[in-house]
Amino acid sequence: MKKISFLIKFICFNLVLFVILSGLDFVMRNKELEGAQDNFAKWKPEHADIVFVGSSHQFCSVDTELLFYKYGIESYMLSTSAQTVPMSYYAAKEAIELASPDAICFEVSYVANDIRTLEGMDHCFFDGFPNCRARYEALADLIEPEDRIYFLLPLGLFHSRWKELTEADFEGFPVTERGTYRKYDLYTNSDIPVLDESETAPIPEEMERYLDMMVDLCEEEGVRLILYTAPFNGLYPGDEGCTEDLYQRQRIFNQVGVYAAERGVEYYNLFHAIDELGIDNEADWADSQHFNVNGQFKMTDYLAENILIRR
């Protein structure tokens, strides 16, 4: 009897501890960065049309609110900062598992970055990731075994967060309807140098493998896959090294076109549609690489009218 009583008390104590630590985990999280992933589990539309995956280029290019209210497209922005191609594959998997969308729209500019994960930014993707099979598959595939514990129990990473807590940290994740994220900064960009479509360079092998996996996944699930590249300038426009880097990326983006044609997938390289987009370098950029809300609206209109809505 004594042992049973001890056991019950022990279990109760651990339950209380679990609740407290969960609360602490919630308070300590970086809510600004993890909002899109965290809110996805709560997004329960009657019918999901599109889920967008990709890096910051994606969420700075598409406004899912505008898509809904102007075009009636029910979509969600599941892209996160520095979301690599392997991560986007698992985001697509997560989208299919949790929301069964008609289409996955993948902004592929990270295909030129031959990386699986980006140290320090992985938590933007993983910490808010809802509990589903895709989350654990992604962890097993992308994160080193000794580091996985920090993704399962991110509390272990927050040892200096107590210094920067504000009232907002106790209120919860900012509600981002359909994952929308808007930048309101203003940057005067210069003209984006664009290479001819015929110039190509190989897609990094590992990135092509994940592209293959994404294409296969969408085929198996009967989901339309839309690939596109949003235009952007070099990190330091005018700098020779940056321009060459941008050219090299564009060669890879052009090669994605070749790849898409071979695999029978839709691909739109919008570096070759800058004029049609009507981008104003004085008003539409938040920085040299990302659109602000003006550019985002123009991109959204273009994508909706020319690509997303099938004619």
Binding site: F6, K9, F13, V16, L17, I20, L21, L24, D147, I149, Y150, L153, L155, G156, L157, F158, H159, W162, K163
Partner: protein
């Protein structure tokens, strides 16, 4: 696997649960298996050294007990000691020895790239202590599993306390018959463990950030005055909280298993002199040197001069035990000199003080005098620690010189102390946590057992304190991915 790693936080509850449910006769085997797994988590190959130490001391103890006469016993004991200390020499002191010789005859001794096995000094001393006890007449342990557990018991395997067979081995022998920890021991153990984690993760590892900045071998010359003084004081705090924190976790974990292991610290910074300090700091090592070295050397029985020589030998070897480097030896030498000086002065000043006291009719035990002595002693010990922490004797001298010559009052207000790795918020946490520790140490000094006081409260109060402690450590502890969990200072010894 360190106590503050997530691996241990999974390992220990599993071990505790299994320990509670297995039949009493299986407990020794379970704890032995757990201890082997615990040690192998560092370097699986080095388990062979631990096994060697166990087998040598186990078999030599039996040979000694069966030896026909005292001479044979002595030869066997000497052989056992040589074998054990040879391993210690090869793995810990070979490069130190070689480097020293090579300074005089360059290139004579090749350097060894063997890694220092974790805790080798601790388990070697524990096993050697047992061997000497058997030589002196204690009965040897015949059950090799029990003996192996005595040497390798995981809570105290890698950083002590250095246990005696009269305590730990006796308790291990009772595992088959006595029950596991009762609820009182269990809670007391949990509280002690939590306090250990608090000392290590909230205080020691936070203080280490500032200390590492100032002692940085590339930049230490840039710091002077209060910056160095603060780093020196914080290193005193760090090493205490690091080592005592480890010991408390070890004592608490063992207590939760129903095994009481010896105390290793008794409020050392509230001591009033060097002798008092060493009676309170790393007590198990001090006791080991006293019983197995100082007394056999003659202790104080062979005259005053021999007594001082013996003290110096003990302290120099104690310095060498702490690390194979001359700055550790110098640190030991310094303590030896201070200890002898204190011994000499106590006799002289004691007589003067007694006469003065009678004249002015002052009380024999004056609290303000004791507080003053505590402060002076802390400062002296802190300066000595600078030789311990520095990378070399030269670095320590430069820092001490800069500390005294660079004292500028505006350092206290111009923000330079906040540019050493700890901002104002961190300093506040450190101060508040240090205050908690000071209050607990004071209570202990006044004879109050805080853990027993805690274990006697209502279950609700205990749960509240433990939950509060865990939350405090989780929020304010220094840990996580970039943090090196293997950095318990005393593991390297």
């Amino acid at each position: 696997m360190t106590f503050n790693s997530l691996t241990f936080l999974v390992f220990f509850p599993i071990c505790l649960f299994l320990y509670m449910v297995v039949p009493a006769k299986m407990r020794v085997y379970l704890l032995l298996a757990a201890s082997i797994i615990f040690y192998m988590c560092w370097n699986p190959v080095y388990i062979l050294l631990l096994l060697f130490c166990i087998l040598v001391t186990y078999s030599f103890a039996i040979f000694i007990s069966r030896a026909a006469d005292k001479k044979q016993k002595r030869i066997l004991m000497a052989a056992g000691l040589i074998l054990n200390f040879s391993v210690l020499f090869v793995f810990k002191y070979f490069n130190f020895f070689g480097d020293t010789i090579n300074r005089f005859i360059p290139g004579l001794i090749p350097s060894s790239d063997l890694l220092l096995p974790v805790g080798i000094s601790f388990y070697t001393f524990q096993a050697v202590g047992y061997l000497i006890d058997v030589y002196r007449g204690d009965a040897p342990e015949k059950n090799i599993f029990r003996y192996s557990l005595f040497v390798s018991f995981f809570p105290q395997l890698v950083a002590g306390p250095i246990e005696r067979s009269s305590n730990l081995l006796k308790r291990i022998r009772e595992l088959d018959t006595k029950g596991t920890a009762d609820i009182f021991d269990f809670r007391k153990g949990a509280f002690i463990m939590l306090y250990g984690y608090f000392m290590k993760m909230v205080i020691a590892d936070r203080a280490a950030i500032l200390v590492n900045t100032v002692y940085d071998p590339e930049r230490y010359t840039e710091y002077a005055g209060f910056s160095v003084l603060l780093a020196a004081v914080l290193f005193s705090v760090q090493i205490y909280c690091d080592f005592a924190g480890y010991t408390y976790i070890a004592i608490g974990a063992a207590r939760m298993l129903g095994i009481t292991i010896c105390e290793n610290f008794n409020t050392p910074y509230l001591s009033t002199g060097i002798r008092d300090f060493w009676d309170r700091w790393h007590m198990s090592l001090t006791g080991w040197f006293r019983d197995y070295l100082y007394f056999p050397l003659g202790g104080s029985r062979k005259g005053l001069f021999r007594k001082y020589v013996n003290i110096m030998i003990v302290f120099i070897l104690s310095g060498l035990w702490h690390g194979a480097s001359w700055h550790f030896v110098f640190w030991g030498l310094l303590h030896g000199v201070l200890r002898v000086t204190e011994e000499v002065l106590t006799g002289i000043t004691g007589r003067i003080r007694e006469k003065t006291r009678r004249i002015v009719n002052a009380p024999a035990d004056d609290i303000s005098r004791n507080i003053f002595k505590c402060i002076v002693n802390f400062f002296v010990v802190t300066v000595c620690w600078m030789f311990f922490r520095a990378e070399s004797i030269d670095q320590a001298f430069v820092l001490i010189k800069n500390m005294f010559t660079g004292l500028r009052p505006w350092q206290l207000t111009d923000g330079s102390l906040l540019a050493l790795g700890l901002d104002a918020k961190e300093i506040n946490v450190l101060f508040f946590a240090g205050l908690i520790m000071f209050v607990i140490d004071m209570a202990k000094r006044l004879g109050r057992d805080v853990s027993s006081f805690f274990a006697k409260r209502s279950e609700l109060a205990q749960s509240f304190v433990i939950l509060l402690g865990i939350v405090f450590i989780v929020i304010f502890g220094v840990y996580g991915k970039e943090y090196d969990a293997a950095a318990f200072i005393y593991f390297q010894f």
